[in-house]
Symmetry: C2
Subunit: 342 residues, 2 copies
């Protein structure tokens, strides 16, 4: 978690912006431009999404440490959406941002290894050496003729880390659902330890019905607390220089009492805190997640930042400026409650 914490200290801002580009949040002019070029297609929509994200990343990277693209909104545009996700991850990292893939993955051990490789690790592609293989070099970006527009762009997806070794989606961290227990989580923890990455396990989520299971008591202790103890435990061998482990927890801003309780019981666990703003959580509600250095958590806002251009007095052509101003206001709001020492 150190890399994230250092970005937070550098920007003085414990905010992560959720890149959740539901199509109705993408500025019309961006979409129309792509529909003109590529028709009313998933490809056009995905290209508009990427341009939206790129503009947001450019505007936000000086003041916001991290982005959190939510996979659902990319999967909803099919293969083309996944390309936009890949390009978004790559671009945010180019601009120095920490990227949390919000995918809430989780499966049995052997399968969780696949997910861990996909988002936090790498895959080795190696011939037996007994047959000749293509000697075409792998190019990561191959620009076509006619660079006037991006229509001709040919791109190879996957980051080449070393010969024969590819990062399929080179994110810094991943959200994880641990309903399946330890053997479904270990592959992610191992990937964190080997590759300096992080995970955030769902503990107490921000949605209204999170309590249906999470608040139920086992031996007098709610499920979210049991999950919290498991998380604290899973991370125990990965404590970084700032005192937090590579295994974080998702704890909703909409449940301030639980934040306080969980912080007390999980002193080594960094919190990813959704639910600020649109869902109702306030800076006061989340203050208890933070330690005396103003560290310990990162607060997500999605719609409140990326769709700030929809507010009165704003203009969709200045979506990036509106997002910047909204992020600055959020930073100020948070920093009134959290003493982040420089």
């Amino acid at each position: 978690m150190d890399r994230l914490i250092e970005r937070i200290i550098k920007t003085g801002n414990p905010t992560v912006v959720g890149l959740d580009p539901a199509l109705d949040l993408v500025p019309t002019y961006l979409k129309e431009k792509e529909y003109q070029k590529n028709g009313e297609t998933l490809k056009a929509a995905a290209k508009a999404v990427y341009k939206f994200n790129k503009g947001l990343i450019d505007a936000l990277c000086p003041i916001v440490p991290a982005v959190k693209p939510q996979l659902a909104f990319y999967e909803a545009l099919g293969v083309e959406g996944i390309k936009a996700f890949y390009k978004t991850v790559e671009y945010a990292k180019e601009r120095g941002m920490y990227v949390i893939a919000d995918a809430k993955r989780g499966d049995i051990g052997s399968t969780a290894e696949g997910y861990a490789s996909a988002f936090l690790g790498s895959v080795t592609i190696k011939s037996t050496g007994k047959t000749p293989i293509s000697t075409k070099p792998v190019k990561l970006k191959k620009e076509g003729k006619g660079e006037k527009n991006d229509k001709k762009e040919k791109r190879v997806y996957g980051q080449l880390l070393a010969p024969n070794e590819y990062a399929p989606f080179p994110a810094d961290a991943l959200t994880v659902n641990a309903y399946l227990g330890t053997d479904g989580v270990k592959p992610f923890v191992n990937a964190c330890a080997s590759n300096d990455k992080g995970i955030f396990v769902l503990v107490k989520t921000s949605n209204p019905s999170s309590g249906e299971l999470q608040d139920k008591c086992i031996d007098g202790i709610p499920v979210y607390e049991h999950m919290g103890s498991m998380v604290e435990n899973w991370g125990s061998d990965t404590i970084g220089t700032h005192g937090y482990s590579a295994v974080g927890a998702v704890v909703g801003a909409t449940y301030p009492e639980q934040i306080k309780e969980l912080r007390a019981k999980m002193p080594k666990t960094f919190f990813l805190i959704p639910g600020y703003g649109a869902q109702g959580g306030t800076a006061k509600d989340i203050a208890a997640a933070f330690d005396s250095n103003g560290l310990g958590g990162i607060v997500n806002s999605s719609r409140g930042i990326i769709a700030a251009y929809k507010n009165a007095g704003e203009n969709e052509h200045d979506f990036a400026g509106a997002a910047f101003r909204a992020a600055l206001a959020m930073k100020d709001d948070l920093c009134r409650e959290i003493n982040l020492s420089k």
Copy 2:
């Protein structure tokens, strides 16, 4: 769930084959062929995966009603892997198979809608009509020049259901993780009801540590049973002609006592049963999931079928034949315990 049940009755076989193409399960000759053409790349690996799946689907479709591609193994090959997943879904459906996307998705309501659109629904891509749009027709498969090999193949991803309406990944059913509670599940249930699709919610998973949370008792009742009651309830408005709802449950073959218990408490819920074979579950263990007509569940096998060519006496060039024989043996094994009336 009727469409799945009718396929099961037609084939006389309550089996779903898990298309979990970890690279070490893909026959070497298929991989080498692609490495020769495309180098040691994710693209080459993904193409080998698709060819493997295609061979398996061709061999299995006469005797197996359904396939269950596990997203982790496709995501592990990045964007190229997702293309292979898309093509696998499309091809299996072309060959008449029912496709369960094993993705274990789950999120808060507004986000779960995105996942539901991606796998069970559709997305509308529509211009405002105020600006001209490209009139290039959308072609679902555009073959390039030189059809000798598939190198030139250009393909548009996403199934066009109606003008402006696309199915991003047109599966029949999806596995869902409901740790977040009802508001995270409703969008999936709604998509099932609108589009004649199904979901399978994780109740009692087949892995060794599933009990860490799932077996813990709340008011004397284990978590998996609470989850089971929620599932039975979520499905109550979607009962089909065979008496089962669109909201199924994942219940592991490795826990026969729990299968019996859950079947008694969830009479309207269809079970997806992993854990047969490699993980240790037997036909006897799962028999209690089935009703007197031999209906009520579908049993998954992945490695045991798709990697049957690795068994003694088999040959990787006949991977499809080996899979066919293994599937036939599994069918016979299951049908000794389950009386599936024709």
